[in-house]
Symmetry: C2
């Protein structure tokens, strides 16, 4: 099942996408819902990020090749994490599928994509084992963890490097039926394939992260966990189109413009 | 004016606190409100954190003495920040005035308070100058940035060191009439004064942080900015009571218990 979130007549709705038809609901997949009887054509709705997370988690460093290639770019030693320590991103930066990533005026040319699987939490959860961890997952969506590498190296935190407005495209929808083992992540920059990797080849998987987080932290419906990216990235510039496809989930596409 | 947020008959309300009387409102100080006509006795209401922030900002390192004393404790060199780079905390950890801080089972004895001024944003704001920055501030409250120092030193991020459930007491209310220059922060552990400092003696002040953040980031109503703490802290243990007073704002009091 695919859940879209969108605006209609100035109000925000969730809907179930079936083919080209969006079946509008009252409520949300995060608690309870009933179909309203209204339908829309998918092409006619204005998509929103599929959820606004109460807390926005991000694994950050979670693929070995990415650690090694990022270390070269940042001029540091590769540091493979030994524990599933989770990090954070910020909701201000979220945009939907098709909305533009805006490069800030004083950014350097090193504004890069990072293709990430996003886990959407569906149930309040604390102290869950790895074997049961997927029971609290509503579904999956796709994130682009846009990063300005110069600021990432120079600043004390990743505030503007990772969380400048529009730097967190997420969408297009939440897919509830995807299978982690089957996913392949492909990034296309202006229709040219630039990276492809097995999505689940993580240092610490979805189950491990959820189990570790919930030893100390309650996960709530709508929380998202961005799972990190593999490989190295290219720069994006004004006029580019960045597409991230995760097989079984969908394709997140965003144009890039300059401020 | 003091804004409290509380639960009544299973619903969440804002109210205006005048003496011992809480005047309930429909709506909120973050958009618009009207008095409902209902009043409560302050002693009878169950306070909630005065706001659940869409994004939870934290300066982290913002007083010189704290940088020097923290460096000694963590065994690192003191590193005075040269720029107002903002960090983040997480909403899962928020609790209200009087609610217990719960020390996790496997925490070390180094669970410590950090007394912080909290800025509550009232208006959507982007690109604001330092001289106008306070125009987007609704008011101030108090935060206790509870920290497990062993995890803070050992982990790659501050997830459980700073964001374990209950580690972010905030309250008791939002005071809209306080003056930054007049504030003094006092911490009492079991009624013994353990630290006192001029709240506004920051490396980078409220106006500077707001102006810097909004060069890249939109602040939204309800966002909070925790401004950091001064000096060094003592350990808290089961049975302790930690009180943080900021003159002109109020007093945040929380008991400490073990999981």
């Amino acid at each position: 099942m695919k859940w879209v979130r969108y605006q209609s007549d100035g109000k925000t709705f969730y809907g179930i996408l079936e083919g080209e038809v969006v079946k509008e609901v009252y409520g949300s997949p995060l608690d309870s819902y009933t179909e309203s009887g209204t339908t829309h054509n998918y092409a006619s709705i204005e998509l929103l990020p599929p959820v606004i997370p109460p807390t926005f988690y991000a694994a950050g460093i979670n693929y070995e090749k990415h650690v090694r290639e990022a270390a070269v770019l940042l001029g540091t030693e590769p540091n493979i994490p030994e524990k599933a320590d989770i990090g954070y991103r910020a909701a201000n930066a979220l945009i939907a599928h098709q909305q533009p990533i805006v490069i800030p005026k004083d950014a350097t040319e090193k504004v890069q994509y990072e293709a990430e699987l996003v886990v959407v939490i569906g149930k309040e959860t604390r102290n869950i084992s790895e074997s049961k961890a997927l029971e609290c997952v509503l579904g999956y969506t796709i994130g682009n963890d846009v990063s300005e590498r110069t600021w990432q190296a120079s600043d004390r935190t990743m505030w503007r490097a990772k969380n400048s407005d529009t730097f967190k495209p997420m969408g297009p929808w939440i897919e509830t039926d995807a299978n982690l083992e089957d996913m392949v992540t492909t990034v296309r920059l202006n229709n040219r394939e630039v990276i492809k990797f097995h999505t689940n080849d993580m240092i610490f998987g979805v189950q491990k992260y959820i189990s570790e987080i919930t030893k100390y932290i309650t996960l709530y419906p709508g929380d998202v966990v961005w799972m990190g990216t593999d490989g190295s990235s290219e720069n994006m510039k004004d006029g580019d189109i960045c597409e991230i496809e995760i097989s079984g989930v969908g394709t997140l596409r965003n144009p890039i413009i300059s401020e």
